[in-house]
């Protein structure tokens, strides 16, 4: 029981402590980093437990499923919690180098841990309505973090962000209502059993469509991704790194869960087309930007396309590739946003026209940028290479040749974007004398740690691929999940 409750209890207690403690940056960081480290330990423990003993489930308050609140972790959930906790720890350490103002006025530590609570809750819940509630917990925390600076760009883009997410939540709620009225249950495992009855899945088609739209908005799929590049570049770097790594991925996780456990029939062509359109529009829009975090934000959209392509192929290999891609993407993308903060600090801004000459200031920062950037573009032996390789192989095997070609082409354009940042910010001569700001030791340590993780996923790709494969197998054949939640009677 405690392995499942700890990843929820730790961020909750940390957030409450941070809210009660004095708002001095030193105290807040001590609480934040300790909480994040404990969460990481608990998450690794959960992953090892699930890896060793299979799917675990616990019924809150001892109400038997499907009546009570179920927490359940299979390999997908446990791996997502583990990698989220890892980037959460990196961001907590990085935040120590953020300006005091950001931390103290915005209650960063409190709300970032509430965000982690919502993220972990969404990964671990076994109940559709609780998934909705965890989404709202996560979103409210993200609203506060997004607009905490109070600057014009933050509040105006915040309106779009809040509006789109409210819209998605309303869609989600409609799906919950439709599923309950048709099937009389909201427990995911129980829903699966009821959906397997003849005729039930056809009748639940509208609910599935609402779920697809709701999570599509939250994941940032084409054509409903515009809220993402508008809002992510505006808050503090630690905040946008946390968003970049985690928020859209919770939407992706929900898509993976819904369209393997509840609706395993392949959606096929339309979803493949949406995935390819997401990849292409994201990368093309990124190529036309000249602001570090806007470029990176559009790349999130394009990478979401890759992940959803894996799901859309509807083969076991495709789903495994999508899981591998997600794990790689969370680490790499968070790191790129954090390094974007270092670039802004070293060069005095984020506009590529005003940046320059950073490579002359030492090899360290160049290396910190080069590793996640090359990984994102898919250069061996970094994690992104294997992520793309597996996905393209899965596309070829599923005979989705257009999609495989698009994946290769989008990868090339990603190299172009990363090279653009490299040329403008690192190589060209500095247009004006930038203030020589300190990068902050904590920030460098956090980025270096994530770089090591990126290289580690690349070199240890076999281990991670094995994990992704096992997770995909559990999604493919949900018997173990159903038994863990509903007991042997199912």
């Amino acid at each position: 029981m405690s392995v499942l409750v700890a990843p929820l209890g730790i961020p909750l207690v940390t957030a409450l402590l941070a809210a009660a403690a004095p708002r001095r940056a030193g105290v807040q960081h001590a609480i934040g980093v300790t909480g994040a480290a404990l969460l990481f330990v608990a998450a690794v423990r959960l992953l090892l437990h699930v890896h060793g003993e299979g799917v675990v489930a616990v019924q809150m308050g001892d109400w038997p499923a499907p009546f009570g609140i179920t927490l359940v972790a299979d390999l997908l959930s446990a791996a997502m919690v583990a990698v989220s906790a890892a980037v959460g720890l990196a961001v907590a350490i990085y935040a120590c180098a953020e300006p005091r103002e950001t931390i103290e006025r915005g209650s960063f530590v409190c709300f970032s841990h509430i965000l982690m609570l919502g993220v972990c809750g969404a990964f671990l819940t076994g109940d559709l309505f609780n998934l909705y509630v965890w989404f709202e917990v996560m979103l409210l925390a993200s609203f506060v973090l997004l607009v905490a600076s109070g600057e014009r760009s933050a509040v105006t883009s915040g309106v779009a962000y809040v509006a789109l997410n409210l819209l998605a939540s309303a869609f989600f709620l409609v799906a919950v209502g439709l599923l309950y009225s048709q099937l009389g249950s909201l427990n995911l495992a129980d829903l699966r059993l009821r959906l397997d009855l003849p005729g039930a899945r056809e009748a639940a088609g509208p609910a599935a469509a609402f779920l697809l739209v709701a999570f599509g908005i939250k994941a940032g799929l084409f054509p409903v991704f515009f809220w993402l590049p508008a809002s992510y570049p505006t808050p503090a770097f630690a905040v946008s790194a946390l968003f970049a790594g985690l928020l859209t991925k919770v939407g992706v996780y929900a898509l993976l869960r819904m369209f393997t456990l509840l609706f395993p029939d392949p959606i096929g062509g339309p979803l493949v087309a949406v995935a390819v359109a997401t990849m292409a529009t994201g990368v093309l829009a990124a190529a036309s930007q000249s602001h570090v975090r806007r470029i990176l934000s559009f790349h999130i959209v394009s990478q979401i396309g890759y992940i959803v392509l894996g799901l859309a192929l509807a083969t076991s290999l495709g789903v495994a590739s999508a899981i591998f891609y997600t794990l790689h993407h969370i680490v790499t993308k968070t790191n790129l946003f954090l390094v974007g903060g270092l670039i802004a600090r070293a060069g005095g801004g984020e506009s590529l026209a005003r940046l320059g000459g950073i490579s002359a200031r030492g090899v360290g920062l160049s290396l910190l940028f080069a590793i996640p950037a090359l990984s994102l573009a898919g250069i061996p032996p970094l994690s992104g290479f294997f992520a793309k390789l597996f996905l393209i192989r899965a596309s070829l095997q599923a005979e989705a040749f257009v999609a495989a070609g698009a994946a290769v082409g989008v990868g090339l354009l990603t190299i172009f974007s990363m090279a653009k940042i490299w040329n403008e910010a690192f190589w060209k001569a500095a247009p004006e004398e930038a203030p020589d700001l300190r990068l902050g030791r904590a920030a460098v340590i956090a980025c270096a740690g994530l770089c090591v993780l990126t290289v580690g996923i690349g070199i240890g790709a076999e281990v991670v691929w094995e994990l992704a494969n096992d997770a995909a197998r559990q999604l493919d054949d949900p018997q173990e999940y159903l038994r863990a939640v509903l007991g042997d009677g199912s």
């Binding site: 506060v144 760009s153 509040v155 883009s157 509006a163 819209l167």
Partner: protein, 115 residues
């Protein structure tokens, strides 16, 4: 009864979509509030509409009499209303700040160019 509720949900959705498409900040926020209420009504009606049959357990019995209302959608909808209320309150304050910063409630002026 069912027809009436179905029509009411349709009207709420219709008005909210009209407001969402107007391009004004305040109409957007009211539209979002109505949209979530449309979803609440739908969730509530999803449990089946039963007139004056509360799910009370009679003395000596172990479950409510057959044909009584399903209490679960009511619990769900209460939770959803509370959440929507909190989010809407936040959105209204945010809208107030945004309108003050941008000096307009025209959403077209809210392009999110970072400074």
């Amino acid at each position: 009864m069912t027809l009436f509720v179905a029509l009411a949900i349709g009207v709420v959705y219709g008005v909210s979509i009209l407001l969402l498409l107007r391009g004004s900040l305040w109409q957007l926020l009211v539209g979002l509030g109505l949209l979530s209420h449309g979803a609440h009504l739908l969730l509530f009606a999803g449990g089946g509409l039963v007139a004056s049959a509360p799910p009370l357990v009679a003395e000596g019995a172990t479950q409510p009499a057959a044909g009584s209302a399903d209490p679960l959608p009511q619990a769900l909808v209460l939770t959803a209303i509370v959440i929507a209320f909190a989010v809407l309150a936040f959105a209204l304050v945010l809208g107030d700040r945004a309108a003050a910063k941008a000096r307009t409630d025209d959403l077209d002026a809210y392009s999110g160019e970072p400074g």
